[in-house]
Structures are given as structure tokens and as C-alpha cells.
């Protein structure tokens, strides 16, 4: 490699030196050093002349040598660094240049719309995150590390399943639609990776609903390859992405070659993942005695209790080896794992031609047995720009993700949850034991793959100065397969083979004509028109074979044809979209900026009577620091005010919702018949979801950017949300899908950055604080309703519980419908009595279940002395009020310590896991796990009178098992289990060390960085459950989630 470098440098020297005899030339040599590290900086462009033209580059050690006329001015420049000018004098032939990274965020290049601009002239709201922020900490999905980095971007890593993705929301809740099993519709922003749009919401449901591979498309991106993220927040910034941009846009740009000297970079991480602290369980004899005591104390009579114990073999037959155990089930599920990742990238080139190739390998074994994720990826890009008039960029990337889900499906691990809540009295897993979920977790053969090929070609041609033609074509193809084989001993003698495959494609083409004109050096006009074609589709097929010949032959036919299934799944989808638009920008001396854009979109899922959807956007910016009255203010480095208004859409529904679904029926008169599916009425007025957003922002930098701050406020309304409306049975059809729901998010965001120590000290410390306060309000429901209840059937540990969700206008868009628990009745005398009938408060009308001491005190809202569905109230908000993060970067010479903290404040969580654990006590004859109950302040009767007991108990009497079946004192739909989910989390801590350059020289390296990191370090929270982050989008802590692992990594990054 060094040899190659030398040749190139020599070639350069000879090239440039051959031109330089005519004048009074001088050879200048020297070294360019980077200010932060003091190391030589490779690839710095050295230009001279008027206008400046590149005449040379620094080599891999920062050395350069150029021949120039005396008196000419040399410019040393590098992207992201402040250029340094030096005038050549006759007596100086050696120069040492120190080049410093640009701290002026106004000159940052941001991508808004389809164009890159400096931040100073962009009027939309966006944030740039450097790719460095997500490197050094090995994770399977790079989105995990965006948590707490961007104000208004709420990332909740609510699954630890390798290769999956948590939930991600930009500026609050965008949809309150809920699937029947209790999952909130994902509303992740649109990702655009090197020009290829990736919509992670579509087909996302395969992660938990079916047999899909459960690999998030974002898990296929190697983090090391990422140059920067552009998070576009407001409608003005995203307007050009019109379709599908309603939830925001995140643009991921991968690295480009930018060094004349080819660079080979290798980085590697070795990391260990450890499961979180497992819960304590009562085991063996203690568990048995606990159950027996409960039965003896609380059964209706002593005879009945003895009979019950004798009828329950695992209580009475204590010497039977099958029941005489103390098994710690959790041990069979969780493990520590050792993992690795490797990345090799080769890049180089200059402005006219550059290239990059990146190879990545990542392997992670999940902390749950038989789970894991592997990524193989190869990506490359190249830019060719022989003249200013022509430019071509090609991106190609291929990646393969491989995943094992164990007995679960991606997000949820119900097998583990059910298994680890099994009684310790049962024997450890074996072929002969009753509880097979442990065995299932370990022995289900499960192999899931996702392959992704993405490519894009960006061509630009400028035949006349100022008019530019551009075309971007991208194509992405995703293929997923899942194979699962359940041996017969796990499934009551019926083996099962399940094969699934899907394919997703996205074809995208955009043509633009753009125009740039500057008048009198101060009036800058630019504009473009574009047309866009977008086509994407998804199709999944599955086959389920029941009872294969034996456990070795996994197909091709199942013996039991009646339980065997196969075919294309009904989530098939093929969508077309085409859009036209124009954009116009004007800025006056970079002081007043106006952007207007307008686009209209036609969608195949639009109702034909609704035509094109119109999406206008307008935004302005005022850089007030350029005003005269700030001329003398040394303290204000920059300052600007922004405002924008605009609209975007998001296609929802499918073509079947618009045109109906037609089926092939029986023969009639020997002719085939076709009839309409009577489930959903075609709705030709169907509209896409629309977001209208107003945004205001203030940005300023003070005291030479020692303090930088951005404050934003927004109001976004999401209208036309789809809803199924059940029709009266006289209609013939069952359901109508209409756009009928609206919700509003408004909030305030802040991001500030402080450089706490002077720029030129050896100690450098900067702290950034960002966050967003968001409130959502439901503003419209169908049929003029003000309140609606949506039932949910969540299955937790095999038990279906239901805490419905309430939509109520004027309130946060998701509330739980639940009883309000005001403590526990200390004694039966405390129960209110109906003055007319003399009866105590009762559960349900006429059930005969009267409340007594030790029962939860549920508020009787309507005062009828009956606790029933009329007493349910909409309570709680599962959406956090404030989310954000704090980052600290401290460096001293070659050392750097980065600490990232995130916070989520004011969020109501439903601790279903705790309810579930306590509920186990109410069924002493079931083989479930018992948690040590002494940690809880539960109601205990006084020895003399069972009607009175603990005053101010927090939890009801768990032992009253005869009444518990009906009363359900540990039901989840009560505020007893609604807790504040506020947490502060130390996300990660990274210690970096840049090895001294002089040492490296000996090994032929130009840079070597060692890193030590810990991820998911510690969570501070008052929440009583295991992890306040590991909850569903509805804020429910089902114990079936895949726990987040803590990881420790050692890494190395070498550059040649």
C-alpha cells in the first residue's frame, strides 16, 4: 500500500513539476497537521492561482511538496476544515500548516429537499449527525445509537432482539391506529439511504405477526460506512419527498472517497453481551409450602382445602421426583455471548473521480438461547465528474442478514416468557418434561434470511451555465425467507415445518431541471422542476406443513393435509406513485431567504374521485446577524429566525380499499363467476394520510460558537387517518375504510452545544444537550363521535388480557380505559354501603361478589355501588412528554471520553409484568412461578379477624384464591399498575485512544485508534418493572419482550 501511495505521490509531483519551468518557480515542501490530534493530515488539497486550481495533495503522512511561482497564494483545504492561506515568499521553502476542523455550523452542508445547501441558506428544520456518533459502539441496528442525539427524534429501544428495530418517532405520535394484538402502527420516518428510499413501516409487521425473518432493513446498513445522517423535521425540509414523508425523513449518506491518496481502513470490535439482572423466584419447597398455606388459609372450609390439596399432585405428592425439584428456568434461556464485527473500507480519489468500497461482517449471538444475527455487506460508490458540466454518482450495495429467532418471532419471545414463569417444582427441560418451551427455545430449527440489493445512479449535466439536468434512478430489492422446523416432541407428536418467503421492491426515478441565477451579486435565484415515479410492492408466500414423516425429513409434504397451509399472504401490496413539482428559492445576500415549493402526487391507492393530492410548502429565513445593528456585536457569531408551513402525504391502505376485492366464484351456466368481496365497501374517495406542519425556529451562536443553540416549535396536524368503520348489517358489506381521524402534535425542541474549555487548550470538553417536549391531541373522530373505545387482546404468558384504548377528542390520542384504584380496603367496614339497599359495593350487578378488606378500592364513578364497565375511565398517556439526550465529549491529547445519556420523562407505563407475577399467587394450584412477595406491601389480615388487616397496603390480598377468579384483584386495567416511566439512561461510554503517529510509522500505519466501550450501561428509574424502555408503543410492559443486553466492547480502527 505504501508503495502505491509513493507511486501516486511521485506521479503527482512529476505531473505538476513538468509544468513549472517557465516562471520564477520555487519548490515548497512541508507538512499539514490536524489541529486536534497533531497528526499529519492526508489528502489535503493544495491550490494556487486565480481562480484557485488544485496543484497537489498531502500524502498519507501529511507531507507535501509543490512547485509554485514566488508570491502566489497557496490554499490548503479539506472538506469540513477551515482553509488556510499562505503566500509564498522566496526565502521560505518549508511550511508547517495546521488545519483546524470547521466549528461554524452555519457552513455545515445540509440536505433539504433534493439539494445540498449550507445551513445558512436552508430555511427548513433539519439536524445533521455525523456518522462518527454511531461508530465505536457495536450494535446490530444503527438506529439504536440515534437515541438522544436529535431533538424531537424519540427512539425507544424496546426490543433487544438482534437485528430488529425499536420504535422511532419524529415529533411525536403520528398515528394512533392499533393492531388487534396491541401493537401501535409504526410511524418511523422515511429513510433515504444514498438516494434509495427505504420505508421501514411497510411490512414491518412481519417482525411480530407472522413468520417473516424479522430483520429490520436498517440492520443491514454497516454503521462504519455512514458519513452522516440528515434528520429532516419540518414540512419545508421534507416537502420534496412529498409522498411518504409525512412522518419525517432521515437521509443516510455513506462515506465517499475524498483523499487523493487511497486509504485502507480496517476496524474491528469484539464485544460481550450480558443479560440484564434476572428476577428472583421462589423455588422448591418454599414454593410448595406457600401454595399449601394459601389454600389452607383461604379456602371456604378446612375440608375443602384438604380435598383441593389432595387433588393437586404437585402439592400433595411432594416426594415424586417429577415434582420434587427446584428448577431455575431463567438459567435455561439466558446466556452471555461473545461477538465480533469487522469492517474494511478502501477509498480514495479526488473531485473528478473518487470511489469507495466497504466490506462488513457483523455477528451477534442473542442473549436468549438460539437467537442471533449476522450481517454480511458489500457496498461501493463512485463519483465521476470530468468537468463541472457533468457528474455521475453510482452507489451499489448488497447485504445479507441472517437471524435466528429461537421459539419467538423477532420482537417477542413468548416462549421464554411463558417458560421462565413456570413453576420451579417441575423437572428441568428434557424430552420427558412437561414444560417444553425451554427445550423449544433451544431446539427449534430456525433460519431467517434477508437479502438486500440497492443501487442508485445519479446523473447531472449542465449544458449551459446555470441550467442543470439531473436524473436519479434507484432500485432496491429485498428478499426475505424464514424457515422454521418444530420437531414432533415439542408439538404433541406433530412436527411442523414452516417456510416463508417475501420480496419487496422499490423503484424510484426522479428527473429534475434546475436553474441558478445571481443578479448583482446579491439576488440569488434558484429553482427546479421535477417529476418523480415511485413504484413499490411486497408479496409474501408461506407454506406450513403439518406432521412431516419424521424429525429428520422436513418436507416436502405433511401427512396431515387438513392442517397444512400454503399460499400468498393477504398483505400483498403493489403501489404506484407519480409526482410533479416545482421549487423556487430566493435569497437576498444570504440574509433573507424564501423557499416555495409545490408538488402534486397521484397514487394508485388514491380514490379515483379525489384526483391528485396537493402539497405546497413555503418557508422563510432571516439571518439577523447580517443586519447592520449587529455589525459591532462581537458576541453574536450567527443568528437566524426561521418559519415554515407545508404539507406532505403518506399513502395508506391498499388498492383493495379503493376498488374493492373481487373473487372467483362457482360456475354458473358453465361460465365462471366473479363477485365482490362483501367485507369492505370500495371507497372511491379514499385519500392518503396528510400531514400539515407549521414550524418556527431560532438559531444562534454566541461568543465565537462557544454556545450554540437551536430552538424550534412546531404544530403538526395529521389528518385523514384510516379507520375501519363497521357498517350496520343491513348494508350487505361489513366494513368501510374511511379517512376519519385527525391528531395534532405540538411541541418545543431545543438543542444546545457548549464548548466548556478554551479552544486552544490540551483539555477539550464539549457538552451538548437536546430534547423535545411534545404533546399530542386527538382532534377528530368519525361520525361526530367524541370518544371511542378500541379493544385489544394482548396475550401475555398465554393469558389474554385486555386493557382497551380510548380515543377521546381533546385528550392525548391514546389513553387506557381502566379502573381508578385508590388503595386497598383495610377492612370490610371501609367498603361503602348503598344507603338504600344496605349492601356493600359489589363487583358487577348481581354477581354476589361484595368487596371486603384486602380488595382493591376501585372508584365507583357513577355511584351506583356496582363496579362495572361504567366505572372505567380514560387514564394515562403512553407517549412521553419529554425525550432527549445529553452528550459529553472530553478529550486530552490522544484520549477521548464520550458519554451519552438519554432521558424520557413523564410517560405512563402499565406494569403488566408485575400484575402478572402477583396474579400467579391467586392460583395456587397452577404450575406458575412465584416471585418473592415479601418485597411488596400487600394486604395481610389481622390474626383475629379476616375482615380487617394491613392499613395503607399497596397491593391487594394475593392469597384469596377462591374469589380472585372473579374479582381479579390484579387485573391490569387499573391504575394500581400504572406507573411513571421516567428514566435516565447512560446509553454508552466510549474511551478512545489515538496511538501516537511516531509509533505507528514503524508498522506502516497512518492512524490507529483503540476503543473501549460499554453500551446500555445503566438506567435510573423509579419504575418497579424490569426496564422502563422495554415496553410496547402503548406503554405496556408485557414480560414477553426481548430484554436489552448490556455490552462491553474492545475495538481497534487502523488506517493505512
Amino acid at each position: 500500500m505504501r508503495f502505491a501511495c509513493c507511486i501516486i505521490v511521485l506521479a503527482l509531483i512529476t505531473t505538476f513539476s513538468s509544468k513549472s519551468f517557465a516562471q520564477n518557480n520555487i519548490t515548497i515542501s512541508g507538512v499539514v497537521k490536524e489541529k486536534d490530534s497533531g497528526d499529519g493530515k492526508a489528502g489535503v488539497t493544495i491550490s494556487a492561482g486565480k481562480p484557485p486550481k488544485p496543484i497537489g495533495y498531502s500524502d498519507s503522512e501529511g507531507r507535501f511538496s509543490v512547485v509554485v511561482p514566488v508570491g502566489s497564494e497557496l490554499i490548503f483545504s479539506f472538506v469540513g476544515f477551515i482553509p488556510v492561506n499562505r503566500t509564498v515568499t522566496a526565502n521560505v521553502t518549508s511550511l508547517e500548516i495546521t488545519i483546524e476542523a470547521s466549528q461554524n455550523s452555519m457552513q455545515e452542508v445540509v440536505v433539504q429537499g433534493f439539494k445540498s445547501k449550507t445551513r445558512e441558506t436552508s430555511s427548513g428544520s433539519s439536524t445533521v449527525i455525523s456518522g462518527r456518533a454511531v461508530q465505536n459502539v457495536p450494535v446490530s441496528n444503527v438506529v439504536e445509537l440515534l437515541q438522544g442525539k436529535v431533538a424531537g427524534l424519540n427512539v425507544q429501544n424496546n426490543t433487544g432482539s438482534p437485528g430488529s428495530m425499536g420504535t422511532i418517532q419524529l415529533r411525536g405520535l403520528s398515528s394512533n391506529n392499533i393492531s388487534a394484538d396491541g401493537f401501535l402502527t409504526p410511524t418511523s420516518p422515511l429513510f433515504v439511504i444514498d438516494g434509495v428510499p427505504v420505508d421501514v413501516n411497510t411490512n414491518y409487521e412481519y417482525g411480530f405477526q407472522g413468520g417473516g425473518p424479522g430483520i429490520s432493513p436498517l440492520a443491514l446498513i454497516p454503521p462504519e460506512d455512514i458519513e452522516q445522517f440528515d434528520v429532516l423535521r419540518d414540512a419545508a425540509a421534507t416537502s420534496q419527498y412529498g409522498s411518504r414523508a409525512a412522518y419525517g425523513v432521515i437521509i443516510i449518506t455513506t462515506k465517499r472517497g475524498q483523499s487523493k491518496v487511497p486509504i485502507i481502513q480496517y476496524s474491528s470490535n469484539f464485544f460481550m453481551k450480558t443479560p440484564p439482572r434476572l428476577r428472583e423466584i421462589v423455588g422448591g419447597r418454599e414454593e410448595r409450602l406457600n401454595r399449601i398455606r394459601a389454600i389452607l388459609d383461604y379456602d371456604t372450609s378446612i375440608l375443602s382445602s384438604q380435598a383441593l390439596i389432595n387433588q393437586t399432585p404437585f402439592l400433595s405428592d411432594s416426594l415424586n421426583p417429577y415434582f420434587n425439584n427446584a428448577t431455575n428456568w431463567q438459567d435455561y434461556y439466558f446466556r452471555n455471548t461473545f461477538n465480533q464485527q469487522h469492517n474494511l473500507s478502501i477509498y480514495g480519489g479526488d473531485r473528478t473521480f473518487n470511489y469507495k468500497t466497504n466490506l462488513n461482517y457483523y455477528k451477534e449471538d442473542g442473549i436468549v438461547e438460539n437467537t442471533g444475527f449476522k450481517r454480511y455487506s458489500l457496498s461501493m460508490n463512485a463519483l465521476y465528474q470530468p468537468t463541472d458540466a457533468f457528474r455521475m454518482v453510482v452507489n451499489l450495495s448488497g447485504s445479507l442478514g441472517q437471524k435466528q429467532n429461537g421459539s419467538g418471532v423477532g420482537l417477542v419471545q413468548t416462549g421464554v416468557a411463558a417458560g421462565s414463569s413456570t413453576s420451579s417444582l417441575l423437572p428441568p427441560p428434557s424430552l420427558f418434561s412437561e414444560n417444553n418451551s425451554a427445550l423449544a427455545t433451544a431446539s427449534i430449527v430456525n433460519n431467517n434470511k434477508t437479502t438486500n440489493i440497492a443501487s442508485s445512479l445519479d446523473l447531472q449535466y449542465e449544458p449551459i451555465s446555470g441550467i442543470r439536468f439531473g436524473n436519479l434512478l434507484s432500485y432496491s430489492f429485498n428478499s426475505g425467507t424464514a424457515d422454521r422446523f418444530t420437531p414432533s416432541f415439542l408439538k404433541s407428536g406433530s412436527s411442523e415445518a414452516y417456510n416463508y418467503n417475501d420480496r419487496t421492491y422499490t423503484l424510484y426515478n426522479r428527473s429534475t431541471i434546475s436553474l441558478v441565477k445571481t443578479l448583482n451579486d446579491i439576488h440569488n435565484f434558484s429553482g427546479y422542476v421535477f417529476n418523480e415515479i415511485n413504484s413499490y410492492g411486497f408479496r409474501a408466500s408461506a407454506i406450513l406443513l403439518n406432521q412431516t414423516p419424521n424429525d429428520q425429513i422436513q418436507g416436502p409434504l405433511g401427512y396431515n393435509w387438513s392442517a397444512t397451509r400454503g399460499g400468498t399472504l393477504n398483505n400483498i401490496n403493489d403501489t404506484r406513485q407519480h409526482g410533479y413539482g416545482a421549487s423556487f428559492s430566493y435569497n437576498y445576500d444570504r440574509k433573507y431567504i424564501l423557499d416555495i415549493s409545490y408538488r402534486f402526487d397521484g397514487l394508485s391507492t388514491n380514490g379515483p374521485s379525489q384526483g391528485y393530492s396537493q402539497n405546497p410548502a413555503i418557508s422563510v429565513r432571516w439571518n439577523f446577524n447580517k443586519e447592520k445593528f449587529f455589525d459591532n456585536s462581537g458576541w453574536l457569531t450567527y443568528g437566524s429566525l426561521r418559519g415554515s408551513w407545508g404539507r406532505n402525504i403518506k399513502p395508506t391502505g391498499s388498492i383493495f380499499d379503493v376498488f374493492g376485492k373481487y373473487r372467483v366464484g362457482d360456475q354458473y351456466n358453465n361460465n365462471p363467476t366473479v363477485y365482490i368481496d362483501y367485507n369492505i365497501v370500495p371507497n372511491t374517495n379514499f385519500l392518503p394520510e396528510t400531514q400539515t406542519q407549521t414550524n418556527g425556529g431560532l438559531e444562534f451562536g454566541l461568543w465565537n460558537n462557544t454556545v450554540e443553540a437551536t430552538f424550534e416549535t412546531y404544530y403538526r396536524s395529521i389528518d385523514n387517518q384510516v379507520m375501519d368503520i363497521a357498517l350496520a348489517d343491513i348494508n350487505g358489506f361489513n366494513m368501510l375504510k374511511i379517512y376519519a381521524k385527525s391528531l395534532v402534535n405540538y411541541g418545543f425542541e431545543w438543542s444546545t452545544n457548549f464548548r466548556l474549555l478554551k479552544q486552544n487548550k490540551t483539555w477539550q470538553w464539549s457538552v451538548s444537550v437536546n430534547g423535545g417536549l411534545n404533546k399530542d391531541v386527538l382532534t377528530k373522530l368519525p361520525n361526530e363521535l367524541r370518544q371511542m373505545t378500541v379493544g385489544i387482546n394482548e396475550t401475555v404468558n398465554g393469558v389474554t388480557t385486555s386493557v382497551p384504548v380510548v380515543y377521546r377528542i381533546g385528550r392525548n390520542s391514546l389513553s387506557n380505559l381502566m379502573f381508578h384504584t385508590q388503595g386497598i380496603y383495610a377492612s370490610t367496614d371501609d367498603v361503602p354501603v348503598n344507603i338504600a339497599t344496605g349492601k356493600r359495593l359489589q363487583l358487577g350487578n348481581g354477581t354476589g361478589y361484595y368487596f371486603q378488606g384486602g380488595d382493591p378500592r376501585w372508584t365507583d364513578i357513577n355511584g351506583d355501588y356496582v363496579i362495572d364497565e361504567n366505572d372505567l375511565l380514560p387514564i394515562g398517556n403512553p407517549q412521553p412528554l419529554v425525550t432527549g439526550g445529553i452528550g459529553s465529549q472530553l478529550s486530552y491529547k490522544g484520549f477521548q471520553l464520550n458519554v451519552n445519556v438519554t432521558y424520557t420523562i413523564a410517560r405512563d407505563l402499565l406494569n403488566t409484568a408485575l400484575a402478572d407475577a402477583l396474579k400467579n399467587y391467586t392460583s395456587p394450584t397452577s404450575l406458575n412461578a412465584l416471585l418473592p412477595i415479601d418485597n411488596f406491601n400487600y394486604w395481610k389480615p389481622s390474626p383475629s379477624d379476616k375482615g380487617t388487616g394491613t392499613v395503607n397496603a399497596q397491593y391487594p390480598n394475593p392469597y384469596d384464591f377462591r374469589r380472585a377468579g372473579t374479582l381479579m384483584p390484579f387485573r391490569t386495567n387499573q391504575t394500581l399498575f400504572l406507573e411513571d416511566g421516567t428514566y435516565w439512561k447512560i446509553n454508552n461510554m466510549v474511551l478512545l485512544y489515538n496511538v501516537n503517529r511516531d509509533v505507528l510509522k514503524r508498522f506502516g500505519m497512518t492512524s490507529c485508534r483503540l476503543s473501549l466501550s460499554a453500551n446500555n450501561v445503566y438506567t435510573f428509574s423509579n419504575y418497579s418493572g424490569p426496564d422502563p424502555e422495554l415496553v410496547t408503543g402503548l406503554g405496556r410492559d408485557n414480560s414477553g419482550g426481548y430484554p436489552n443486553a448490556r455490552s462491553y466492547a474492545v475495538g481497534i480502527n487502523i488506517q493505512f
Binding site: 418556527g696 425556529g697 416549535t713 349492601k839 361484595y850
Partner: protein
Amino acid sequence: MKNKKIKNSGSITILFLCVVMISISCNKYLPEDRETVGEDSQFTVDMYQPVLGRTTFFTDNFFKGSTSFPASFKIVNPRRRSGEPANELTDVFPVKVWKKAYDGNEKSLAEIEAKREIQNRPIFEMSPHTGALTMWAEARSAYIRSQPDSGYLFDIELSNSGGRRYYRNMKLMPLRERPYEPSNYNPISGQPLSNGVFPSVVSNIKGVATNRYLSFYDVDVYIRKLEGTGVTSNSLSFKFLDTLFNPIDPALFSNTDWPNLVHGFDMKMTATGVTYNVAFPIPLVELPTRYTTPDGRRSKVQFGYSRLGFGGRKEDALLGLDFAIYEPGSWEIVFAFKNENPKFTND
């Protein structure tokens, strides 16, 4: 220079405040969070026919629909059918209400009475948040119009933060007092239809004369309130009469669980009858206890004796009555064997 600096940082503060104000001012365009009064909400019962002299609690009479709770309910404009206001429904009366739950385990009358108190309430009352209606036991046909009169009309106002709604012309048509059950009074005219009522259980009782098993038709039960001199307290007596209306010694019903026959105290047994001091109504609460039928709606008494029948077989005879008495006073229940006397001797 310094002044200028202050002025400038002032202007940046103003800008900042503007941004904050914009964000706050958005609030007022949003709909407010309020309760709903539903179009589909209805009272499922619009004619209420309580029996006077008993506390009647009408509940579960409102279909909530899309109305959200908490909501307020109010009786508005109670009036007679003729249109004049019915002040007797709105005036407050001293009524006896429960303040603690009766459970059937009380050991004395004082303990029972300690669970009740007198409060002044309208005689026909609506629960403020439920829509449930109560007619208190103190209502009497003396001042409340009862059937065959067409009674009263009233409107109900339902309101909450979402608005208000009126349900008009609900009907209240009380029935005359029937102080005990089973009753031999016509509910509308208030006139007795028969001499007495039938017992609930007549089993294995053999007649002395014919040696046949007696049936319900052989026993009349008279439930009578004793009035006049010497009647002071709330009591309940049981008496048994033979065909000649001579008293039968209650001690002959030797299998009877006398102490727990009714929830009464200070049992006095004589050769002519047995008397308890009791609290009214009987049963006190519609709650299954040891003194009541399984549904708790009636008090249950059973008198039994055993004798050796034909062939030396043991026969357990049983005479029982499920009853309720609503009016306080000194009451007696008389079992009259009108056709044949029961046989207590062995065969």
C-alpha cells in the same frame, strides 16, 4: 458599547420569547377535553311502579351508549298528570338509611340499629351520577298518589361537561302498600283477595284423622299486624292453630332451629306461640344469609318434627314459609291447619 450589548441580548430574548409564545398560543385552536352526552344514550325504563311502604331501588335503567361518565342526573319538574307540581315528591322526609353493611351476623337489635340512621331526603330520589331511582319506604298512599291514579310525570336532566340533555315524560305510577309478602292484597285496589296465603313448604305432615299427607291447601297462613293496647315494640310471633283454632304448642315442632329461625332476639316461647324482637323490614337487606332464601329476597322459616311412621319408618315433617314484612310493628304469623290437624304421635 456595553449598553448596546445589553440591548442586543434583550432583542434575542424577545425573539426567544416569541418562539415560546407561538408554541403556547397554538393551544387554543385545539378542541378541549370534555365529557360526552351521547345521542344514543337512553333510559331503558320509562315507567316506574314502586310499591309504597318499601324501599325500591331502580338501578341498571340507563343505557350509557356514548355518554361518558362522570355525568350528573337530576329529576326536573315532577308533576301530577294534571300538570300541577308534585311537591310531595320533592319535599324531604325523615327516612331510614343504611350507613354500614348488614351481613346477618349482628348479635343484637342495637347492633343492627347502629348500622342505620335517619336522614332527611326526598321521598323519590335520583342518584346524582347514576340515573338510579329510589322510592323510600316511608312513602305512603296517604300522601303519594298510587294506582289506580295515573300518578306522576317527571323529566330527567343528564349533564356533564359535554352538554346536557333532557329525557321527558318519565312516568311514576306507585302501587299501594302491600305490607307483607306473599300478599293476599290486590296491588291496585288494595283489597284482600283471600283469607290468608299458602305456606311455602308442607312436607311429610300426616293428618290425624285420615292419615293422609297434608298439602298446601290444608294450611292457611295469616300474616297480621297486631294493633291496639299492649303492643309496644317491633316483634314477630309464630302461632299454630288446629282446626278448632286452638293453639298448638310450638314445642311439638321439635326439630325446629328456634334460636336461628329469624334474625330476631329475646325469643319467648310459650305453649301458644313463639315471639322474637326483630328489626324491620324482614329481611333487612336483600342479601343471602342463614335466615333467608338463597336469593336473599325473602326470610325463610321452617318448622319440623320427626315421628315414626308406618312400619317404624322415620318421617321428617316440615312446614315452612318464605315471607317478607316491610312495615314495622308487632306482627304475627299464624299457621292454621284448617282441614285436619297434624299428627305428632308415632304410628
